[in-house]
Amino acid sequence: MITRPMIAAVLAATAAVASAAAGPLQVTSSILVESRTAAADGTTRIALVKPSKVTPGDKVIFVLSYRNTGAQPLANVVLDNPLPRQIAYRSANPGSPAPDVSVDGKTFGSLATLRVRSLDGSTRAAGPNDVTSVRWRLASPLAAGSQGQFAFQAVLK
């Protein structure tokens, strides 16, 4: 069995130094890798840690931690993460809501609804490698002081 502990503790360290945005909505972006350790009960425990060495083919986890540091609720919160071009999208990280994805940066939806146009004008179903951007929308206003986290798995091309 594989357990995935909350990663908030890991992120706390980076959040302290990394919040660049001024304003009530603070978002911290992290690129992490899985660290697997065998627990005493025979299960495998996965922690997310800062990568020391990432090489092509390695799985990386992009984590966006958000928090409303203001005194009022924030409505229509949207987090948008264009992928670095060396990164291939794979899936939502377990425990995270699935993002809407886009293959052109304009149209967002679930991967199954997207198509890619080829040079000859024909289209085909989009695959994870076609994803260029991911996006999450909060369905309800983010109350003052509340926070959350989105994460997706990707592979270094």
């Binding site: 980076t14 990394a18 919040s19 660049a20 945005a21 001024a22 304003g23 009530p24 909505l25 978002v27 911290t28 972006s29 992290s30 690129i31 990568p51 020391s52 060495k53 990432v54 090489t55 092509p56 083919g57 990386v60 992009f62 966006l64 958000y66 203001g70 009022q72 924030l74 409505a75 229509n76 919160v77 949207v78 987090l79 948008d80 993460n81 264009p82 670095p84 071009r85 060396q86 990164i87 983010l142 270094l156 091309k157």
Partner: protein, 341 residues
């Protein structure tokens, strides 16, 4: 990482701006070592009825250099070495996602055949040009770009004229290792990679080796066919319903791939179902998972075949046994039975 990269930081920067460029004929080695992966998220929200937008922090990771290499022989024929130089072409490929040079070591053991030299085939034509094709300086190749291949030529000669009846066998071993480091996959050389990245030993161990069996004896495979007849009365008379057991013994001096033994069923006889064996183990008649089959319709040609070379021209229903990869100095025996009509 290699010295040449350090000496030209401006050039290196240019290279690092690129990522995973597909060069025709080169293996994909992934994002180039030293590339910075930069991520920033954008965010929007409404506060007091006003839409606002801002960005997250920017996080950067630097792609490490994965040390990997491949070394393969270009052909797979048995190598017979005489007093005249014999050339064995090899291909070395930098599977690293960074620039790398490789240390080359070549040895022949136990002896009887000597390695004259191991050179880099400057024009890649597989032919030895003593003027242009030179041994690597200090046993190291030039710096190879990610995915780049070069041809090597091992040049061998027998040290004395061994009699054909007692050929000398030896093994040529050529090894290439990443100069940055090699060893257990996952081993890390801090900041030794391109662009100051860490270098990490990949799945190949950053080392590749080929062992090539050599012989001073006859080339290629040979096939000996014999038969024995057993009649219903226990005699060896070749009469109707007598069963002929055919034995095909294939001898391979050197290692080969794609070896295949085929033999047609003689006219006037019919194949005895289920009688095909390879080295004593039964093979089914169907064209299925095992190495052998009986082909009732299509022409089988007699011979032990490797690659495109084959002997014999007879056609008709026959047996086919695919040996595939065959070790040097090995013997394989195929048997089948046919009934006289």
């Amino acid at each position: 990482m290699v010295a040449a990269t350090l000496a030209h930081p401006a050039f290196a920067q240019t290279a690092f701006a690129q990522t995973a460029i597909a060069v025709p004929g080169r293996p994909a080695v992934g994002t180039v070592a030293g590339t910075s992966i930069v991520n920033t998220a954008g965010l929007r929200y409404d506060l007091d009825g006003t839409s606002r937008s801002t960005v997250s922090n920017t996080v950067t990771i630097v792609v490490a250099e994965r040390l990997d290499v491949a070394l393969v022989r270009d052909d797979h024929d048995a190598v017979v070495v005489g007093p005249e130089p014999t050339i064995i072409p090899l291909t070395l490929t930098n599977l690293d996602n960074g620039n790398e040079s490789f240390t080359l070591v070549a040895t022949v053991s136990p002896g009887g055949i000597a390695l004259r030299t191991l050179v880099i085939d400057a024009d890649g034509d597989g032919l030895y040009d003593p003027v242009r094709d030179l041994a690597p300086v200090d046993g190291r190749t030039p710096v190879l770009a990610p995915g780049q291949s070069i041809k090597l030529l091992a040049i061998l000669a027998a040290t004395s004229a061994a009699p054909v009846t007692a050929p000398v066998t030896a093994t040529l071993t050529v090894t290439a290792q990443s100069t940055t480091g090699s060893g257990t996959a996952g081993a890390t050389y801090a900041q030794a990679g391109d662009g100051g990245s860490d270098a990490v030993v990949g799945l190949t161990g950053a080392s590749a080796s080929v062992a090539i069996p050599l012989s001073t004896g006859p080339a290629g495979p040979s096939l000996f066919k014999s038969q024995s007849v057993r009649a219903a009365d226990g005699s060896q008379n070749a009469v109707r319903d007598s069963v002929i057991t055919y034995t095909l013994e294939a001898r391979f001096a050197g290692a080969v791939t794609g070896a295949r033994i085929a033999d047609p069923i003689p006219l006037g006889t019919v194949f005895v179902p289920g009688s095909l064996t390879l080295d004593g183990a039964p093979l089914s008649d169907a064209a299925d998972g095992d190495a052998g089959r009986f082909d009732a319709t299509n022409g089988a040609q007699t011979g032990a075949q490797t690659g495109t070379a084959q002997t014999g021209v007879a056609q008709g229903p026959g047996i086919v046994v695919a040996l595939g990869q065959v070790a040097a100095a090995s013997v394989h025996t195929v048997q089948f039975k046919a009934r006289i009509q």
